[in-house]
Amino acid sequence: MNATPNLNDLKPNTRDHGADIVLSGAEVLLRVLVEQGVDVIFGYPGGAVLPIYDALFKQNAVRHILVRHEQAAVHAAEAYARSTGKVGVVLVTSGPGATNAVTGLVDALMDSIPVVCFTGQVGVPLIGTDAFQEADTTGITRQATKHNYLVRKPADLARVAHEAFHIARSGRPGPVVVDLPKNISVGPAPYAPASRAPHPSYRPRTEPEREAVVRAVAAMKRARRPLFYTGGGIINAGPQASEALGRLVRKTGFPCTSTLMGLGAYPTTDRHFLGMLGMHGTYEANLATHGCDVLVALGARFDDRVTGRLDAFSPDSFKIHADIEPSQINKIVQVDVPIVGDAGRVIEMMLEEWDRQDGAPDPAALGQWWQQIDAWRGIRSLHFDQDRTPSAIIRPQHAVRRLYELAMETGRDTFVSTEVGQHQMWAAQHFQFDRPNRWLTSGGLGTMGYGLPAAVGAQVAHPDALVIDIAGEASTLMNIQELGTIAQYRLPVKLFILNNQYMGMVRQWQELLHGSRYSESYSAALPDFIRLAESFHAKGMRATCVGELDDVIRAMLAEPGAVVADICVAQDENCYPMIPSGAAHNQMLLGPEQEGEVKVSAEGRMLV
């Protein structure tokens, strides 16, 4: 044994409660991680964090996953958090280590993912001198995080590190940065256990006001054309919130739609589920949103991808909006009943009130509403025709459908991450999620390159699960270096590339808005993905026609190690249905045959 105490000796015990045991700052940090229940961190070493890496070397309680780029460390931590409900933890060095992490931090901020990111910093005496690998990390990440800290005094270290976890996971979750100057991690610092005292200024409200829920339920009882519109807040509220949502939908008999971030909170295969709403949502979900008379938004934030043209968004509905974050209420859409609280608590209280209040919605009206919805369903807006001739070109939707069906045949717990673009929308439309925390995607920020590192994070958290990154060939090249991480830790991640040789969503918009002038949207000089896989010690596979697709998917699923499957799909396929920007929910395009009819308004052209 060496002189430095190992982490088992560092575990907090009741006898030294409150006593200041002097350790190095790096050891204090590790002890905080253990007390916070952290078993794995994602990171990349560098000069300013060497003392922390040295402390990591001397212990076994916290596992470190070495990524190949700091952005990937944050995405991996996000997926770890999203798939486990725990806080994801990142450790990177100063300067470029911190700036590389910024995209991941903003991604976590936009999608409300709890992440704590420890960044190295030059020693306190050097701060402000343009020292080697110095960057103003707290300045740069102020708008990229829920909160951030620069630890200037050893005495603050333990408190700040504990507090970072509390802030990341409570209220509306989000990323927190703790910037650690090198002299703080080298020098002695006192350890203190997590404080039980409430934070002096930060006190998020989780318990909803009963009176607001009473009013909401009264409106729901009077509803003739009701709709639940659910979002990522339900996933963040934990699996019990999703379970409660299931009971609420069954009890009320109301239809339910979901945002991209909320998929899996309610089983997407259930008949009460109308599919995703919004820009690439289903016809029935969008028409129901447009036509409903009571809209119950739970843990969703009226994102512009969801609302389309604002003045035509759900124009005749009485709106109920439950969110844990008061700033989300009346931000985009003015609502009639605001409820501030945790989505799970709101749903439980709605269930209680539903039993307590007399009356029920008019069954005839609700029946008519369902008839109307079934008529919209009859349009089959996600339908596509796949030519089954073996030599036929694979349509990307077909590839996702077959991937889902064959993955289900394995009976394994399945996690799906995505990159950003057309493939992401096809995955959201055609892969089904009957449980929460299985769908990992970059919603708010739309970060290309999210999926592969996210698959790393999910596979580390669930070593025995089936983890698939449904990718596009352009996006995945943005973080393809993570094949190295996958190889190092023997992670059996399946990278399923829908390869159409275009930045498909960019090309689709160029067709819609810019006269099909494909400015820089062709994926030129692509690598040979099979040889790329092999060079990273993974298995490479390719399907070029329908006849090969099932065999490749089966082989991929049967392979015990990592696989890169290059699925060559129709190059000209576009993502439908679609609400063109600046249009209303009842102005959907169902397919390319309608594309000629669309006139995107001048205002619509300005929108992203």
């Binding site: 300045g139 200024s201 930060y202 008061p326 009346n330 931000k331 009639d336």
Partner: protein, 171 residues
């Protein structure tokens, strides 16, 4: 759907914050990042023992935007309390200006006469210049400065608004 009120109103937002490094940057960054106006801003510690500072921001926007500003500022971790004083009710809002006037002869006499009418104090006097100190509502300071313009106005330094609710209520 509730119709949105599009009229722009002015509002005084008072924010009680933890007096820690970077807290002002957090508040200002939020305003610039989300496209909110800052017409004036004051900040100073108000509770030395409890490490609290008060920030007063005069801003403008539609009622919906002002409501958003309040909610967004309330999200910041080191913020204890945030109030829209304009909405809370009657409040006192004052600022101070130091106004330098360089002139002689008739103009100099006239400047001194107007200063007396405004109860401005001459805190520095030379043969060719005055520095007037004036406290009051923003509009009063504006009109004083307007009147000084033809009388040799050379330089102005203003503090921005400090504001507090009238009566026994606090934020």
């Amino acid at each position: 759907m509730t119709m949105q009120d599009e009229t722009t109103v002015s509002a005084v937002i008072s924010i009680l914050v933890e007096n820690e490094s970077g807290v002002l940057a957090r508040v200002i960054g939020l305003f610039s990042g989300r496209g909110y106006n800052i017409e004036s801003l004051t900040v100073a510690p108000v509770e030395q023992s409890r490490h609290q500072s008060r920030i007063n921001i005069v801003t403008s926007g539609t009622p919906q935007v002002i409501e958003q500003i309040k909610a967004q500022v309330g999200r910041l971790v080191p913020v204890y309390r945030v109030a829209n004083l304009t909405q809370v009710g009657p409040h006192v809002a004052r600022e101070m200006a130091l106004v330098k006037v360089v002139s002689s002869g008739e103009a100099r006499t006239e400047a001194l006469r107007i200063a007396e009418a405004f109860r401005a104090r001459a805190v520095d006097t030379t043969a060719t210049s005055f520095v007037f100190e004036l406290t009051g509502a923003t509009e009063k300071l504006d009109s004083f400065i307007d009147l000084m313009r033809p009388l040799g106005l050379a330089e102005v330094s203003r503090t921005g608004v400090a504001a507090i609710i009238r009566g026994p209520r606090t934020i």
